[in-house]
Symmetry: none
Subunit: 414 residues, 2 copies
């Protein structure tokens, strides 16, 4: 079986200066790996003609995916350089022009010559329609290699990869069938999970490979086959460990915990609200990122100030003065308060010290209380975290969603 | 002045599979840039002899920093490959051996032959002491180039960079000063901004370079000097265009709009609350990501369900039935409602159709209304977006923060 080799090239000085983190390449590498394509190199280079030419001149890969350097201003040279490299000339693409014009007009903005030039692409390349922005994607068939140029804005790159590049790659390169199945787990660390399923892992056939992919407060298990198994066969293999780790498994496919909770709520015809202090609205944000969440999510009260806890959520002032805002008692009243206020079936509440300031000897930075309630039963949990501010917020968000999952599935044990 | 060129090379399949994000390279690039060293390339390659040889054989840089592939197991080949490349042989380094032995003994672990081999380094390289772990760093003076090999564990890499590599680089290479200054703008597209300052940009001296770094609903301008200017001189240069683009500039340093709004609020001794429908809590989340935001942010009501708009925010039911949830009238009442409810000085409200479902011919997906109010004056704006769900949410968040900035600065014009 021939291995298809890919390179990912990111263009832009801001990555080389260390000003921004290159998250595009990881996302693209993961998508290509899923297709069974081997990423041999990920490169970040400068936004200059010389650096771009060097990257495309010397390559033994089958496909090069290039992001960045497609803005309308003159410091972006990717398009002209690729045009030079393929010995072509720029030509306005009528579909791109109509699209860019429409975008500007719909925003009530003038359609200038600079904007119009965004619709110019080398005449021999294939046009990739970018519904998420103004810079078109470009697909070059150059000698025995494919070169694809995409904008660096993550939402535009992802749109073009999903809608244009991946379907075309499948069709043209016919990558080998590489099948993956997923189990998503929460509430158990990587090493404990590995211990529980060690026996099963050792018994896997040679051509199946298990990967532990830990993320914030969760671990994704991926089972890959290089031996022609179907996804269904891999999923069946995974079923063997479900009895051992059932309480930790929130999905048998690669979906987020917020999406999987949405499905549990829909199945129970139930609704949800949140009362957030330290998470500051991030739980509501994660839930509402899921399309269709308006069917089960009613709303949230972000009670950053104590006055909001008292006046809107009706937390008792004695509770706040006796136990403090970061306490089991307060977070319980917050959950019950927002549940009554919105009339939701379930409610989540968080209160904690995200840092870097605000810690005390008794309640250091990273002390977090969470509660979930269905009105009758309220379950609470304390976390002691030691991440930075954003890390504490994001970890708490995931852990609170997992606490709700345990209540929804009725498998909570203190 | 001679520019010192550096390459950063990361070794490991986990990055190429897209399993982990390469954060080491960004950290190292930022450190090198601060020193005035130009990072020309960041590369991730496979953990194989061939890939490593290729990376060190073809390089026109002055210094190559390599991380990863230094573990004790046999699949880590960096050390033996660099030894082969420099035509040298491995030799146990006595200081390294004593250090590794002590680490194992202090943990009560046996000091095996495999552990002892961690202390072996090529005889001609300079030993870099790794107090944070067991794998030593290595400094090779190879022909006219420096090659440095460091472990990939972030805490060990950072220790070695700070304590060993950076001091040695300063002493041996004597890098020049490289300076950057920033202007952050919002509410104007890259091409319009470029047009406004084209004349100034053309007049820049050769050794200053301007970059447009667009992000969601904003553009960052970066002015870099390769000619020994100070940051203050670059900032003074930027001052020349402030009269032309003042209304769009939200910061004269590299900070986020949410941080800069926090400073405006603190200066006015004012507070803020939000009422969010389509943004689902993301505005509150962005604001509360900023440390110290509890000094000015009171809270938010995420009113996903109409019942929450009616019961908590006190939007009139006639308003909802006459104009709909996505309307200037509703979003105005939401802003005033949350401002009254929390007693905040300012309030932001959003209501729109983030998609993919929920659009109608009159109000297609991407129709968004936003309002900001100080109680006396309410300003509103309509957006017509065409991104995906998350893109619409994130764009609206930034645009709403910018609308608040315009009200805070008193420069809003319909």
């Amino acid at each position: 079986m021939r291995i298809i080799r890919a390179e990912i090239i990111t263009i832009g000085d801001e990555i080389l200066y260390g000003h921004i983190l290159d998250t595009n390449s990881q996302w693209m590498a993961a998508r290509l790996s899923e297709l069974g394509i081997k990423v041999t190199k990920i490169i970040s280079i400068s936004d200059t003609r010389e650096a771009i030419l060097e990257a495309v001149q010397h390559s033994d890969s089958d496909i090069q995916l290039i992001t960045g350097g497609l803005g309308p201003t003159k410091d972006d040279v990717t398009k002209t350089t690729l045009c030079e490299f393929t010995e072509d000339e720029l030509k306005i693409h009528p579909v791109a022009e109509a699209h860019v014009r429409e975008l500007f007009e719909s925003r009530g903005l003038p359609f200038t010559e600079i904007n119009r030039l965004q619709a110019a692409i080398p005449s021999k390349c294939e046009y990739l329609h970018n519904a998420a922005g103004t810079a078109p994607g470009m697909w070059f068939n150059h000698e025995n290699r494919i070169i694809v140029s995409l904008p660096g804005v993550p939402v535009e790159m992802k749109y073009l990869m999903s809608e244009e590049v991946i379907p075309k790659v499948k069709e043209r390169l016919k990558p080998p069938m590489l099948a993956h199945a997923y189990l998503k787990t929460a509430g158990i660390g990587e090493s404990f999970l590995a211990e529980k399923i060690a026996h099963w892992e050792e018994s896997l056939p040679e051509e199946m490979k298990l990967a532990y992919l830990p993320d914030l407060a969760e671990v994704k298990l991926r089972l890959s086959s290089f031996g022609g198994h179907t996804v269904e066969e891999l999923q069946k293999k995974f079923e063997e460990i479900i009895p051992i780790i059932d309480d930790f498994v929130y999905a048998k496919e690669d979906v987020t915990i917020e999406k999987s909770i949405g499905e549990l709520l829909l199945n129970q015809n139930a609704t949800l609200s949140t009362a957030e202090s330290c998470t500051g609205g991030n739980i509501a944000h994660q839930i509402t990122k899921v399309a269709g969440s308006s069917s089960y999510f009613l709303g949230s009260v972000v009670s950053y100030a104590n006055s909001v806890k008292l006046d809107i959520l009706k937390v008792k002032s004695e509770t706040l003065s006796n136990f403090g805002a970061v306490s089991e008692e307060t977070v319980t009243e917050m959950a019950l308060g927002v549940q009554r206020l919105t009339g939701s079936t379930y409610a989540i509440a968080t209160s904690g010290i995200a840092g870097p300031g605000g810690g005390t000897p008794g309640k250091p930075v990273g002390t977090i209380w969470m509660a979930v309630t269905n009105g009758n039963e309220t379950i609470t949990k304390k976390l002691n975290l030691n991440r930075d501010r954003l890390g504490n917020i994001e970890y708490t968000t995931k852990a609170a969603l997992n606490l709700l999952r345990l209540q929804l599935r009725g498998i909570w044990q203190k």
